[in-house]
């Protein structure tokens, strides 16, 4: 039984990254049907834990895009055997680990960009023409901060630099609601 996954359930922690289990640590095939059923139940429990963690990570990653969340299906709907449940569990664990690593990596870049943005706002003339997009700091896209001169060429000549914040995303506009005669 993979120790890592048992540990996740015991502590109930969602903060600790889940590690992909070693292939050698997989549940041994068993001939006893009762033991086999117990193994399937345990694997289903682990799948539930991993799915919960992946869901929480997915929600916390919003609005970042380009992160792979998919876990391929083994084919169903049917009662999966131990080996198939192990495949699902392992794929979930690997996906969770990769997504966490990607989010950590992006978090570091975004933190650096936030620092750059703060410096830009404090001293815009030191960061002339630098532009930071919202997605660079982990926010929803369609807005940016741009260090540019006030009053165009005049500002350039006199060093009147400022950081201009764009107006943001357009309002969401879906299909018009049906009209009803009163």
């Amino acid at each position: 039984m993979p120790e890592e996954l048992l540990e996740i359930e015991r502590t109930g922690s969602v903060d600790e990254p889940a590690r992909a289990p070693e292939s050698s640590a997989l549940i041994e095939p068993v001939a006893d049907p009762a033991a086999d059923r117990l193994a399937r139940q345990e694997l289903r429990r682990q799948i539930a834990v991993l799915e919960k963690q992946l869901g929480q990570l997915f929600a916390s990653a919003f609005p970042r895009t380009g992160i792979e969340w998919g876990v391929p299906a083994v084919g169903g709907p049917r009662v999966l055997g131990v080996a198939e449940l192990e495949r699902v569990r392992d794929a979930l664990a690997v996906r969770l680990q990769e997504a966490q690593a990607e989010l950590e990596r992006r978090g570091e870049v975004e933190e650096a960009n936030r620092g750059l943005l703060e410096s830009m706002i404090a001293e815009p003339d030191r960061y002339r023409w630098v532009r930071v997009a919202a997605e660079d700091v982990g926010e929803r896209p369609c807005q940016h901060w741009h260090s540019r001169p006030r009053w165009g060429i005049l500002g350039m000549l006199f060093g009147w630099w400022r950081v201009k914040h764009s107006s943001g995303c357009p309002l969401a506009m879906g299909l018009a609601a049906p009209l009803f005669a009163r």
């Binding site: 869901g55 998919g70 876990v71 299906a73 709907p77 049917r78 609601a177």
Partner: protein, 214 residues
Amino acid sequence: MSTATPEAGWISPELREEFPGLGLRYLLVERGSGRSPRELKHRLALMSDRFSGPQAIALRHKPIPYAYRVFFRQIGLDPDEQPTPVEAVALERIKRGGFISESLLDDALTIAIIESGVALRAFDADRAEGRLGIRTTEEGEGLEGRPGALPTGTLVIADEARPLALLFGAIASGRGVNPKTGRMLLASIQVKGVPDIAVEEAVWLAASIVRGTD
């Protein structure tokens, strides 16, 4: 079949043992589908306004949608490729900009699924024999309208004679609700983690909308 309270469908013994919490409730509605009344379309439009992208993202956090996602994984489905019923409805809302009215039955199911998070199906009651339940397919058994036999052990919703639909999948040809259907069976699928009250409420809500009493 009772028209008063949702009836509990049968679950084959091996599935009951394998998936504690798996259940089926269904209710007979003495009418077919048809066009949605104006009030129902209005209700859908109001619901569209209340349901936005962040809510769709947060669905995975909520206990009932989460329970279905877990069950999908456990039976070999990928809930990102074949979304759970509530996520499928939410995705449609995001893609199409609103809950678009289709028919009385579809609209009733959309509202009930979004409000409760529970998976609902509908069948032609006059083309179902006996009680409904969930079981696995036998060797050589197929789904009407679909070429070839289903793999042995496929999970299906069945009556006492034949499979009516894949669990969370396609309905057998002629067993679903069509314009000629006179009576419908509204069925909700319960999985571990979904409370009884939510399952009954989902069927009740859909039935009430179809009957025009909600």
